[in-house]
């Protein structure tokens, strides 16, 4: 299961625009790594590059390598579809498939990959929903559409959907930014549990959240408007928040900008 990620000299582009420059960092297995930084600094772009979602956007381009336990996801001959099966993703806004029931949403990844075994699908549904702390709330209405759940429930449904395919890594792109504080707390608790089994990378705007959930924190910044975003520093969360080695990090964390 959970694997480590080594990101080396990652450069990301949208057409001619150089979005992110020279990012090199490690994500440890079975831990939570938080990406923080001001808007537009490229942290989400880096996250999307980890499971090759970046290239979904027309005109985008990637240089550098992302190694999953030593295997480059950008090596020639690697199927991006396979990469995304191994590195799952949860998005900023909950996006359950509107035409599918709660059950079908959870097992969508398996079903679309051709798994037909009813018993197995049933097991995965329950295990994933339990894993996402949603089972008790929805077990009586699995056949109802996923769009009928509350925002926080929908987001947990999306997490259940992502872990149903048993990925090695789970990427979360500001998963709580559209949620109320109570739902946010539920998701944060869930992240703490999930890290026993998964390697998690989370992008967040909320520094308290980064401090609460993550083991290590990476701070990204824009040197100047129009220039590519850069990784300023990465370190243990406690150290980054109490004693950052870069001035920019300190400024951002103490709320002087961003």
């Amino acid at each position: 299961m959970a694997k480590r990620l080594d990101i080396n000299d990652l450069n990301l582009y949208y057409n001619k625009f150089h979005a992110v420059q020279d990012v090199t960092l490690q994500v440890h297995a079975r831990s939570v790594t938080a990406f923080i930084g001001p808007s537009g600094c490229g942290k989400s772009t880096v996250l999307r590059a980890l499971n090759r979602m970046h290239e979904v956007i027309p005109g985008s381009r990637v240089e550098g390598s992302v190694l999953l336990d030593g295997e480059n996801v950008y090596a020639p001959g690697v199927d991006p579809v396979q990469v995304r099966r191994t590195i799952g993703m949860v998005f900023q806004r909950a996006n359950p498939f509107p035409t599918m029931s709660i059950r079908d949403n959870v097992v969508a990844g398996l079903k679309l990959a051709g798994v037909k075994d009813k018993k197995r699908l049933e097991e995965v549904t329950e295990r994933s929903l339990r894993g996402a702390n949603l089972w008790e709330e929805v077990k009586d209405r699995l056949n109802k559409p996923g769009g009928g759940l509350s925002g926080g429930q929908q987001q947990r449904l999306c997490i259940a959907r992502a872990i149903a395919v048993q990925p090695d890594v789970l990427l979360m792109d500001e998963p709580c930014s559209a949620l109320d504080p109570i739902s946010t707390l539920a998701i944060e608790d869930l992240i703490a549990e999930l890290k026993k089994d998964y390697t998690i990378v989370i992008v967040t705007h909320n520094m308290q959240q980064a401090a609460r959930v993550s083991d290590q924190t990476a701070f990204f910044n824009l040197p100047e408007v129009g220039q590519p975003g850069q990784l300023v520093e990465i370190g243990e969360t406690g150290k980054i928040f109490s004693n950052p080695s870069q001035k920019a990090t300190e400024g951002y964390i103490s709320g002087r900008f961003g």
Binding site: N51, M53, V56, P58, V81, Q82, V83, R84, R85, T86, G88, M89, F91, R93, N95, P96, F97, P98, T99, A108, G109, L112, A113, K144, P145, G147, G148, C158, R161, A162, V165
Partner: protein, 304 residues
């Protein structure tokens, strides 16, 4: 002194709300009335046409023979007969047209939104679809004549009609598919990709089902539109007063062609049949419009 008292009688300050000038008021009201009238002007011919159809076409439809007999063997002055032969033709021709136009049109729509976005080919295609939607139906008929009958050497047939109707229905299907696919949020596509689902499967299993309700409605409305076409039929198929189930052989009736042909029988019985066929055609089109509304409700994405 007079002026002083006048000053005293004047209010201390101007009224809070000044009255609009008379000219502005009149202009405003005139415009409102004119625009409302314009709408009424559009409603009048619609009601007038429908009234005429019901008034003159209802009587033949009330006869049971109307629905299961043809015009076969009727002399100009014979009353009776039925529209069955034309119903068969209309339904077969439009059905086969849909069989070709729907998959083709949906695929073009998928190309434009999912694959071609802003490519040169996509822009050219969009332009050509626009041109196709303005193509006169008679030109569509002539083209199929030049291709299918003159060049390939086939006979006139109901199938040739279906082919010409494809040209007229295609732009409708492409447009509605395009519009409905645009509405599907990119987040759903990304969610699917992130689960390791290939793009084509994402389109077939996630994107299309989400937009299905809108696409099916648009397709059925397009079908209703081509159902009333007459011009290409005049040059692509002969009229038959008998029932012909074979789309590939021999003359074949359809509702619109029956209306057009019955006009040449200038007897009372002929007019009777003409208006009957006309009302039948409009009722069929209305029925299909209704079906579209029902299906769109049925397939609408549910949240409860």
């Amino acid at each position: 002194m007079r002026t002083d008292t006048a000053d005293l009688e004047r209010p201390a300050s101007a009224p809070a709300f000044q009255q609009l000038g008379l000219g502005r008021k009149i202009k405003n009201h005139t415009a409102t009335v004119l625009f409302g009238l314009a709408f009424l002007v559009a409603v009048v011919p619609l009601l007038w046409v429908l009234f005429t159809l019901v008034q003159r076409g209802l009587a033949p439809m009330l006869n049971a023979d109307w629905w299961n007999h043809s015009f076969y063997g009727l002399l100009p002055n014979d009353s009776g007969g039925g529209i069955y032969h034309a119903l068969v033709g209309t339904l077969e021709q439009t059905f086969v047209c849909a069989l070709i136009a729907v998959p083709l049109g949906v695929t073009v729509g998928i190309f434009l939104i999912e694959y071609g976005r802003n490519s040169k080919l996509a822009r050219t295609t969009t332009f050509m679809v626009d041109i196709l939607s303005g193509l006169p139906s008679i030109v569509a008929g002539l083209f199929i004549y030049a291709l299918w009958i003159t060049t390939f050497g086939f006979d006139r047939s109901g199938f040739a009609v279906s082919l010409s109707l494809v040209l007229l229905m295609l732009p409708v299907v492409v447009r509605v598919t395009e519009t409905m696919l645009t509405i599907v949020p990119d987040e759903l596509r990304e969610a699917s990709y992130a689960l390791g689902v290939p793009k084509w499967k994402t389109i077939v299993k996630v994107v299309l089902p989400t937009s299905f309700s809108g696409i099916i409605t648009g397709i059925i409305l397009g079908l209703a539109r081509v159902m009333g076409e007459t011009a290409p039929l005049l040059i692509l198929v002969g009229y038959s007063r008998a029932i012909n189930y074979n789309l590939f052989d021999g003359p074949m009736a359809s509702l619109s062609l029956t209306v057009y042909t019955a006009r040449k029988t200038s007897t009372e019985a002929g007019e009777y049949r003409m208006w009957g066929a006309a009302l039948t055609l409009v009722l069929l089109i209305m029925l299909i419009n209704l079906l579209a509304t029902l299906l769109s409700k049925l397939f609408a994405v549910k949240t409860r």
